[in-house]
Amino acid sequence: MPTATDTIEALAERDYEYGFVTDVEQDTAPPGLSEDIIAFISAKKNEPQWLLDWRLQAYRGWLKMVEPQWANVRYEPIDYQSICYYAAPKSDDDRPKSLDEIDPEILATYEKLGIPLKEQEVLAGVAVDAVFDSVSVATTFREKLAELGVIFCSFSEAVQDHPELVRKYLGTVVPRRDNFFAALNSAVFSDGSFVYIPKGVRCPMELSTYFRINAMNTGQFERTLSIAHEGSNVSYLEGCTAPMRDENQLHAAVVELVAHEDAQIKYSTVQNWYPGDKEGVGGIYNFVTKRGLCEGRRSKISWTQVETGSAVTWKYPSCILRGDDSVGEFYSVAVSNNRQQADTGTKMVHVGKRTSSTIISKGISAGEGQNTYRGSVRILRSAEDARNFSQCDSMLIGDRCGAHTFPYIDVANPTAQMEHEASTSKIGEDQIFYCNQRGIDTEDAVSMIVNGFCKEVFRELPMEFAVEAQKLLEVSLEGSVG
């Protein structure tokens, strides 16, 4: 039965059918956001009508929302009408011709991280045709995955090739009007990755290696959707330890994970976007919505993140533990140096029986950085025998930085057991002295102590990235002591 609201909605939805100026030949959309622009993006990507409708619904929801102010970060107001929401990937002519044209400071960082020369070129965005053998490597991977029925492709490809899957799952974990930035992303998302692991398949490789070579230029509004079917298992690494060359200041990504019965998803992130200069000018704003749904029984979602970049980070990878006996994990290291600000944490919502979650968060503040842990653990009435353990430790280096902890704990079931612990400390002078005495200089000593502090999280990372992450931490904290 049509209600008044339905009629209004129908009317509201009708008007975009006409009068859109859509110039498909154009490479870049003019700055600003409107239904025309969204139609332009959608047309550019050759999307089906339902996806355009979906985007427009998100946009209309976004118009009614106000930018959240509750996060413990300060930044200049963002003018959403001055942002360009679509830009085609750069053509080879615009790119730097060789590494000589790249900022030597970035190169120095690559050097410290021990990244191979060829890979440096890719990361720096140098126009290289057939960079070593990345194409063939990628193809080999793809064939191997296809054999097992694993779908791993860009989001745009998924929309074309597997529309039924995208349509079924898109927005089921992060609804399009979930929050201000998620709504913005839903309206204008550029690209991202799509992962589908069929029943009972254990993905034979870390999807990271492949990703690192392939998923460049996904733009500032990334959309990732991962579905792990019954009994499957996948490990996925996004991002990169190397600083990324990027001109877009605002990043608002959405990541959705769905784990069915007995499925396991491990999602690791290493984020090292440009944090701005020492005064914090020009850094990237990273406003991300990441959420996983443990849909089936005994499913497991594990988030691991190492956040060292961005001027402002606003990110709460969450788990909704709906299936009985499902497990959620969150391991995080967040570093804020100079003028960086990070407001990050997690949300664990226990719905199913015997669900359990673990939160290990390590915040490191140096310089004038501000680091906030904001987490929520909710144990609903239905969650019999739920279990949570949270530990949030902060380390302060220098006397001008700040560490903040805001956990929210709501328990509505007496059989639940939940523990939260947090501590704040600094690197002890006696610890440094001890190291100095044994011939370890202060910088190395600090790095050693910090690595020890973060060990519990690094342990969760895929091995090669754990090594890089340690180095990354050293680079990020360089010069903050002494």
Binding site: W70, I379, R381, S394, L396, I397, G398, D399, R400, C401, G402, A403, H404, T405, F406, P407, Y408, I409, D410, V411, A412, N413, P414, T415, A416, Q417, M418, E419, H420, E421, A422, S423, T424, S425, K426
Partner: protein, 456 residues
């Protein structure tokens, strides 16, 4: 501001209009009511208040608590032996039942004169209305402002420098609502009797005092009254102030309390808050550690059943180096009770060598009970030790099994464990009659019965 808010604040502004703003604190009262008018009542979007449903209070029309009709000896059940006492009924001083302490400036705020007026003019409301709220933005605490504007009577205690009081001072705030309000049934009564108890303690340098505040109802079955107390503590250098706040209001009562302490160099402020009664209870505490070596201990216990709600919000600010603070809040929740713990430790950049600890433990005894715990740290200094911990759970099955294996029945074993859990807080009371009373109350509320807390 919406018109809805106007209809809610309106009756309170009228109360003020009827009262006038004279006396030594007239200007402060005027300022407070203006602040309250500007801020209005907090809404559900207000971080500090979003978990507190003020609806039942705000829907009712406030009328000043009347009467003071208390039979002879009516206060006796609540009084402790071996201490000086000041008794207030419905927010007004009852001299007949009181025996004010000697050697301290103690008087009723309604008619202060001489030295007392100076004390009031200097301290009353000076700290409360400035940075009063527990929230990060330190806005106006609406109920503290209301108290400053509307209190009729109260206690101001001036403890001279170098004096150590031997006996504790008990301040009894007794509510005896008139029969009409108590008789109202079916949700919130149309009108509600409201009182605004006010306490000011100014401890001089190197002085020592213990103050016990008791909030209670003459008739435990009474309902439909609203107590909105505010207390201020100014702890001079080297002073030691021990404060106990026993809240044993009637089951249907509303209680929104606010307390504020400023702790100077090497002074210690120790406050325990024990909440047993009331339908809707808030206890907001702000402690400022404002001198080197200042120390503060905030402990609390809430034992709830039925549909009781208790919120404990506190903010401890470390403003100077070498300051220490400890918080231990424990809750036992049964029935459909709900509790909120919202504690924030704020360490300023100057406050190096801070040592702060915050602990909140909740025991859920029923399926319908709900505990919210938000322990928060904000730290701007690097050489500090700050920890917080929070747990919510039920009784340890193994401990229960241990006791039962030794032939102790389930009920009894259960009772023993809950009792042991709660006694960590009550055992901290050093004044023997108080400790015994707390234990009796704990026992009574854990066993579902009511105790009037009489103690020999």
């Amino acid at each position: 501001m919406t018109s809805g808010a106007d209809t809610r604040t309106g009756p309170y502004l009228e109360l003020f209009a009827g009262r006038g703003a004279g006396g030594p604190v007239g200007a402060r009262r005027q300022q407070a009511i203006e602040r309250f008018e500007a801020a209005g009542f907090p809404g559900s979007r207000d971080e500090e208040w979003r978990q507190t449903n003020l609806g039942p209070i705000l829907r009712a029309r406030p009328v000043p608590a009347s009467g003071g009709a208390l039979g002879e000896g009516g206060a006796l059940p609540f009084l402790y032996p071996d201490c000086d006492r000041m008794v207030f009924v419905n927010g007004r001083y009852a001299p007949a039942a009181s025996s004010p302490p000697e050697g301290v400036t103690a008087f009723s705020l309604a008619d202060p004169a001489g030295a007392g007026a100076d004390l009031l003019a200097e301290h009353l409301g000076a700290s409360v209305d400035g940075r009063a709220s527990c929230s990060a933005d330190a806005g106006v605490h609406p109920f503290a402002a209301l108290n400053t504007a509307l209190f009729e009577d109260g206690v101001a205690l001036g403890i001279p420098a170098g004096t150590a009081l031997e006996r504790p001072i008990q301040v009894l705030w007794l509510s005896a609502p008139s029969a009409d309000a108590a008789a109202a049934e079916g949700g919130a009564p149309a009108s509600i009797e409201v009182s605004f108890p006010r306490l000011l303690v100014v401890a001089g340098e190197n002085s020592q005092a213990a103050v016990i505040e008791t909030f209670a109802a003459a008739d435990p079955a009474a309902g439909g009254y609203f107590v909105c107390p505010a207390a201020e503590f100014v702890c001079g250098a080297g002073s030691v102030v021990r404060h106990t706040r026993l809240q044993a209001d009637a089951a249907g009562a509303f209680h929104l309390g606010f307390q504020h302490a400023r702790v100077d160099r090497s002074a210690a402020f120790d406050s325990s808050s024990l909440a047993f009664g009331g339908a809707l209870v808030r206890n907001d505490t702000v402690a400022l550690l404002d001198g080197e070596g200042a120390d503060c201990t905030l402990d609390g216990l809430y034992v709830l059943d039925g549909s009781q709600f208790t919120g404990n919000h506190m903010r401890v600010e470390h403003r100077q180096p070498h300051t220490t603070s400890h918080q231990l809040y424990k809750g036992v929740l049964d029935g459909q009770a709900r509790s909120v713990f919202n504690g924030r430790i704020y360490v300023h950049q100057a406050a190096q060598k801070t040592d702060a600890k915050q602990t909140n433990r909740n025991l859920l005894l029923s399926k319908a009970a709900l505990a919210n715990s938000n322990p928060q740290l904000e730290i701007f200094a690097d050489d500090v030790r700050c920890t917080h911990g929070s747990t919510i759970g039920r009784l340890d099955e193994e401990a229960l099994f241990y006791l039962r294996a030794r032939g102790i029945g389930f009920e009894e074993a259960h009772g023993m464990l809950v009792h042991a859990f709660a006694r960590e807080v009550t055992d901290k009371a050093t004044f023997e009659p108080l400790r015994r009373d707390l234990e009796a109350r704990l026992f009574a509320s854990l066993n579902g019965g009511r105790s009037n807390g009489q103690d020999g």
